[in-house]
Symmetry: C2
Subunit: 244 residues, 2 copies
Amino acid sequence: MAQNRHIHIAEDLRRQIAVGSFTPGSRLPSEAVLMERYGASRTTIREAVVKLENEGLIIRRHGLGNFVRHATGLITYNIDGRRAARSAVGATLEVQASHETVQADAGLSERLNIPLGSTVSVYTYKSHYMHDPCSLARVYVPQTVALLDVPVTGLSPTGEDVREALVKAHVRVAATVTRIASRLPVAEESRELRIGSGTAVLEIERITTDIDGQVVELTRIVLPGYGTEAVFTEQAPARELEAA
Amino acid sequence: MAQNRHIHIAEDLRRQIAVGSFTPGSRLPSEAVLMERYGASRTTIREAVVKLENEGLIIRRHGLGNFVRHATGLITYNIDGRRAARSAVGATLEVQASHETVQADAGLSERLNIPLGSTVSVYTYKSHYMHDPCSLARVYVPQTVALLDVPVTGLSPTGEDVREALVKAHVRVAATVTRIASRLPVAEESRELRIGSGTAVLEIERITTDIDGQVVELTRIVLPGYGTEAVFTEQAPARELEAA
DNA sequence: GAGTGGTCTAGACCACGAG
DNA sequence: TCGTGGTCTAGACCACTCA
């Protein structure tokens, strides 16, 4: 038994979610009810509830209640260095894709290594599982690279369509740098992913360059930090084996 | 100006840390003083302070005070798929290394693919920057793989010494799988890294296998989520270039 | 309007660390 | 012992959502 009240309450609620006393999508008892049930003050109850939100177990909705999140299972973003293949697997996600063009601002200009104000294609992908948002991805392609006709019905939540379309459009992809970081969400992400401001996100940023060193694609994927991972598989090159 | 009190206070403290009104290592005014200074209640002050802790800006010490953390700058864990090289760069870190042997429990047994109870060498690396902890790494090597004589003075905070020693010991490294996830810290990590239970960590797990498919090394690196990243560089294989 | 969560207050008592 | 942060309480008022 936990020594602290809020930890004990969080544990109890967690257990009840785990064993199914509170089912996915259903509303938790209101905080007023929980206060009575646990004989605790509002502050203590909320401390427990916020903890569960940060763990990705519940979604808090102002004016509505606290709801049990549908568990997606582990979402994996795969990179196979041996085959230069990328894939994201996990639960069956519903993907919404959209497309627009923007003028490069300072940040985009620097990252894509293009002049300020250049036209950039932006593909946005949002994935959901049982109406709960799961991922947010944006793919940026300078319009000087390719005028793509990518089907924005997007099956991949991480915008792999665009990369494939680039290869099909005879863009000569040479190297990819993938950056992974963990951070707290900005307001937009907190809203779009329905996560609390204390729930960390996993950010995956992928920059692909062609054989001339020109950036052809910048992808930024944001996933809730809980229940997600990125996996890289690589093979030791022959020369290292020789050395041994 | 923020609409919420605690957000406004957090912003103000953040700004004062940024401009150097509160210098790294120094103590913030006590919460009682902050209450007076901002005319806010303890709850509100603490909400702001906890936020700063989760952002990695301060360290809270029970009975002592809240201290400004020494900024390490971005800590990068690099993996170069083209050279199978790994490196961790960032501020100059002080590294403590230690070594022990343990019997494999269920988890280790499964991950290392060895019998339960087998002897495993465990190398632990802790890095600090200006006395503030920065990283925690453990390297597990089954004793059937190699009886290493690794200098535990370890220069690399991510246990690269062990991997190099394996290659030198004629272990034929074939493939490496790296898993990266973001999660909340367990109690030990929270204590060792001096981070709050709400501060996310970046976990990097690396499993190296030899040409027989045997696991020769399991490394688990835990970094605070703020100010850290993992970067992978890969080159598109020739065949993909042909296809284009 | 009724019920829900979001924010804030004022105050209490406990636990930790240093002199 | 004293000053610090850690936890908790009881209560207030606001903001959002829906019937």
